[in-house]
């Protein structure tokens, strides 16, 4: 059953025909930028897709949802959701030769809202993502000293003892929450700007600006480093990790399958969400990048290759991360056991070496039998390797607390720290290129800025405005704001946009026309797999994920976790509820981009009714569309 295609007048006037595309291809007379070679394009797309999420979200999901068994839903949804959506974005960008606003406006002027929503999401996500890069840079700058500043607690002001906040938690926690963030106790308590964070933020935005200055002319060169270096570093860490004690325990723990988790619907939901966000879909950046390709580029092959690379990178980095986590867990376990053994030796004045790891349990039992009160008073800790391994941490906690702690235990720590943070920096920066592309190109298409302004100026303004707004994240409460942005700006709107994209291409643009376009571009019609996934399967999956996400977020009490040294459970993070005024911010972050999609359509409808102008005819507001009109007029 094929849904009747919605009426779409004047489509032929808004988009270049196949003959026009051929001619543009031959003459090379378009003023769109072009990729220097296919490698640049592939590396840019891989860099955009492969980001921090592959390193710190996927391993956590994998381990917490049944280890090796998680691969099954992940791979299934990769094939059913990720690859089709990716192919769709590549194909439509390559065909209509425009950024996100241009593409959706060309399909139907009432769909401009989808492009604007992509613009808003790219802008908001770019702001907080670059702040994470600023944090990575701060750690990178601090890695050039031995011993590393997060390896030991600092001494307090009168040199009598170590700082209590540090001794109660840990040096890595203290360095992250106090020295780096100087975090306040709640999101309402702003605490002022932290000057060192402002400097790092400035550095991050300036570095991004220098790479994105001229669009793909500069980013195309930068990606040779930023997209390849992470793989090199991951391999180095894998080799280093495998030579450390306990690494194989970590890898075994990661991949041990628990097939019961497959019955749990949240496993499938998390897998679907991870595939979706991991591909950086609906940002508009991929459409833009693909539009700089030649018309006959094989986008189907590209989509499959990039999906495979993305999936492989997730699994590879999970292996590396968990080999290091296994090492850290083993170290912690050994320290815990050593502490207990020392306590026993000291209490009973036994000779050193009389209790070892091997006979610990036995000796403890004997002593407990004879002196139970003494054993009680010692308050021995329970040391369990599995507990340490399953201290599943994700996100910033993994990178800045768990991994940094593991690094301090390795010999030549500064070197590993520098390598690790360079890798995170490259992963983040290459994703930011796509974000900036998804922000700047729609702004140009919407003619927000005068046309004679060069791209350097527009990119500069975008970076400057983002930097100024991102100063929110440089406050004491910045960490909480970032978590807020991460939960709301980068989740629901993307699902809405992706769903609208698929409906727009399949039912408004027309799947038959789309099939013919692809046949024109790559030489053969897309096969049954693509037809089924584009028409039903992928939109359905995205819709299901969206509904569940929305329902979960709306029904649950929205809380956040805060670092409060004076709380009772310190160092466990305190769970706080958001104040009432935060809900306004949440609405701005999640609601506005989503509502822009129908909102723009209604706005245009009202404008059309009021002014009685023909929306479909002459009113094309994209630069590239104007070029195509120009070329048709020339012939």
């Amino acid at each position: 059953i094929v849904l009747k295609i919605l009426p779409n007048l004047g489509l032929g006037d808004r988009i270049p025909s196949h003959q026009e595309l051929e001619r543009m291809e031959k003459e090379e007379a378009g003023d769109r930028p072009k990729w220097d070679n296919k490698t640049q394009y592939m590396l840019t797309c891989v860099g955009f897709c492969v980001g921090l999420g592959n390193v710190w979200r996927f391993p956590y999901l994998c381990q917490s949802h049944g280890g090796g068994a998680f691969m099954i839903p992940f791979l299934i949804l990769l094939v059913l959701e990720g690859i089709p959506l990716l192919h769709l974005e590549f194909a439509i960008g390559q065909r209509l030769r425009s950024g996100s606003v241009g593409v959706w406006t060309a399909i139907n002027p009432y769909l401009t809202g989808v492009g604007i929503a992509s613009l808003l999401v790219s802008f908001l996500v770019g702001m907080y993502y670059n702040t994470i890069i600023a944090w990575v840079m701060w750690y990178f700058f601090n890695s050039f000293q031995n011993p590393l500043p997060w390896s030991q607690c600092p001494v307090n002001a009168n040199l009598t003892d170590l700082v209590s906040e540090c001794t109660r938690s840990s040096p890595v926690d203290y360095f992250w929450y106090r020295d780096t963030l100087n975090t306040s106790t709640s999101i309402g308590d702003s605490g002022g700007l932290q000057w060192w964070m402002v400097l790092c933020l400035l550095c991050a935005w300036l570095l991004l600006y220098v790479c994105c200055l001229r669009g793909i002319a500069t980013t195309g060169k930068a990606v040779y480093v930023t997209s390849t270096l992470p793989y090199v570093v991951l391999t180095i860490f894998l080799i280093r990790g495998l030579t450390l004690k306990g690494s194989l325990d970590g890898i075994k723990f990661l991949f041990t399958p628990d097939l019961n988790e497959l019955m749990n619907p949240s496993t499938w939901l998390d897998a679907g969400a991870q595939v979706f966000y991991s591909f950086s879909l609906a940002f508009g950046g991929l459409i833009s990048f693909s539009s700089y390709n030649s018309v006959h580029n094989n986008c189907e092959q590209d989509a499959v290759i990039i999906s495979i690379i993305n999936g492989f990178t997730s699994v590879y980095s999970a292996t590396v991360i968990y080999s290091i986590i296994g090492f850290r867990a083993t170290e912690r376990f050994d320290d815990c056991l050593e502490g207990n053994i020392l306590a026993l030796l000291n209490a009973f004045n036994l000779a050193e070496g009389s209790i070892k790891e091997g006979n610990y349990a036995e000796s403890l039992q004997n002593l407990n039998g004879t002196f139970p009160e003494t054993i009680q008073s010692l308050d021995l800790k329970t040391c369990d390797l599995q507990t340490f391994l399953s201290q599943g941490v994700e996100g910033t906690g993994l990178a800045f607390i768990v991994f940094t702690e593991a690094i301090t235990k390795m010999p030549v720590s500064p070197l590993w720290s520098i390598l690790f943070f360079i890798m995170l920096f490259c992963l983040g920066l290459s994703t930011m290129f796509g974000s900036i592309e998804g922000t700047v190109v729609p702004l140009q298409d919407l003619n927000i800025f005068p046309k004679r302004w060069p791209k350097e100026a527009i990119t500069g303004i975008v970076c400057l405005v983002s930097f100024v707004i991102a100063l929110i994240f440089a406050q004491s409460s910045g960490n909480y704001w970032l978590a807020l942005f991460d939960s709301f700006a980068g989740s629901i709107p993307l699902l809405v946009i992706a769903f609208c994209e698929m409906i727009a291409v399949v039912y408004i643009y027309g799947i038959d026309r789309f099939n013919k376009d692809i046949e024109f571009m790559i030489g053969h019609k897309p096969n049954l797999f693509w037809q089924v996934t584009w028409r039903f399967v992928s939109p359905l999956i995205v819709l299901v994920i969206f509904v569940f996400y929305f329902v979960t977020k709306v029904s649950s009490n929205v809380t956040y976790i805060a670092w409060n040294p004076s709380s009772e459970d310190f160092p466990t993070l305190e769970v706080l509820e958001y104040p009432a005024w935060i809900y306004v911010i949440i609405f701005i972050l999640a609601g506005v981009p989503s509502l822009v999609v129908p909102g723009t359509a209604i706005f245009k409808l009202i404008r059309r009714c009021c002014s009685n102008k023909n929306v479909y005819g002459a009113e094309v507001d994209t630069v590239s569309a104007k070029v195509q009109m120009f070329t048709t007029k020339m012939s």
Binding site: A29, D31, R32, P33, M137, W138, F140, F141, N142, F144, Q145, P154, V155, L159, T160, D161, L162, W196, L199, C200, L202, C203, L206, L207, Y209, V210, L213, R214, G215, A217, T218, L345, N346, N349, L350, A351, E352, G353, V441, Q444, P454, K455, E456, V623, S624, F630, M634
Partner: protein, 238 residues
């Protein structure tokens, strides 16, 4: 020495008194260590417990802890006391050790050189140990952690505060390079644009002539030259 006393006391007084003196003397000789034992005991009010972890500190190279090492400890402590008080001459006899265990741990007290029954107060002993802690540690090839005086906390090393924090230096280098990069790229864009504009105004005239002349100069022009695209910089627009 005892024989001299014996014969001396016998000579000085009658045999009976001599025996009494002799018995008293013997008691003193036996009693003195007993008295010392009373001074030094577990949880003595003026004593400290020492705990030594040789295997943790030295691993394979750990030496055996025996009576000679105990004597060495007494000598080191006597040195520490001398160093602190400076006037008084402490001796190894002034350091009394007891309650040795196989851990290795033991208790010690310090007696005054003038009066062997009087103990030096805890606070003074602590001051002496703190002053010479480094020397004591090094004498035994141990550290603050492996040679513990329970109750005397090691003084923390003063933090090294460099004038400029190291991270600021790296930051300066990176931001300097980035600013240079930005300025270089912007200037090169500007120059490129200016060059194109200059080239345009010069070629503009020639192009018109070429169009009119057509193939005259041997240059084959494919179709008409589309000047609509000439003033677009390929790389910066769109």
């Amino acid at each position: 020495m005892i024989s001299y006393v014996f014969w001396g006391s016998l000579a000085l007084s009658g045999i009976k008194e001599g025996m009494l003196v002799w018995i008293l003397f013997l008691l003193c000789q036996v009693g003195a260590p007993a008295l010392a034992q009373d001074l030094c005991q577990r949880d003595a009010p003026n004593g400290y417990k020492v705990r030594i972890s040789l295997k943790t500190a030295l691993g394979e190279d750990a030496y055996e802890w025996n009576q000679s090492e105990m004597f060495f400890f007494q000598a080191t402590m006597a040195f520490a006391m001398r160093r602190h008080f400076q006037m008084e001459t402490y001796n190894v006899d002034n350091i009394i050790l007891c309650v040795q265990t196989s851990r290795v741990s033991f208790w010690f007290v310090v007696t005054s050189p003038d009066n062997t029954t009087m103990l030096i107060p805890k606070a003074d002993v602590e001051k002496a140990v703190r002053m010479s802690r480094h020397r004591i540690n090094n004498a035994f090839l141990l550290s603050d952690r492996t040679l513990e005086f329970l109750g005397i906390y090691p003084t923390l090393a003063a933090p090294v505060n460099p004038d400029t924090p190291p991270w600021l230096i790296v930051f300066g280098v990176v931001i300097g390079a980035v600013c240079v990069g930005i300025i270089a790229l912007l200037i090169s864009s500007l120059l490129q644009k200016r060059r194109k504009e200059k080239g345009m105004t010069e070629d503009g005239q020639d192009e018109e002539d070429m169009q009119v002349k057509g193939v005259e100069n041997g240059i084959n022009l494919d179709g008409t030259y589309n000047r609509g695209f000439t003033d677009d910089d390929r790389f910066t627009k769109l």
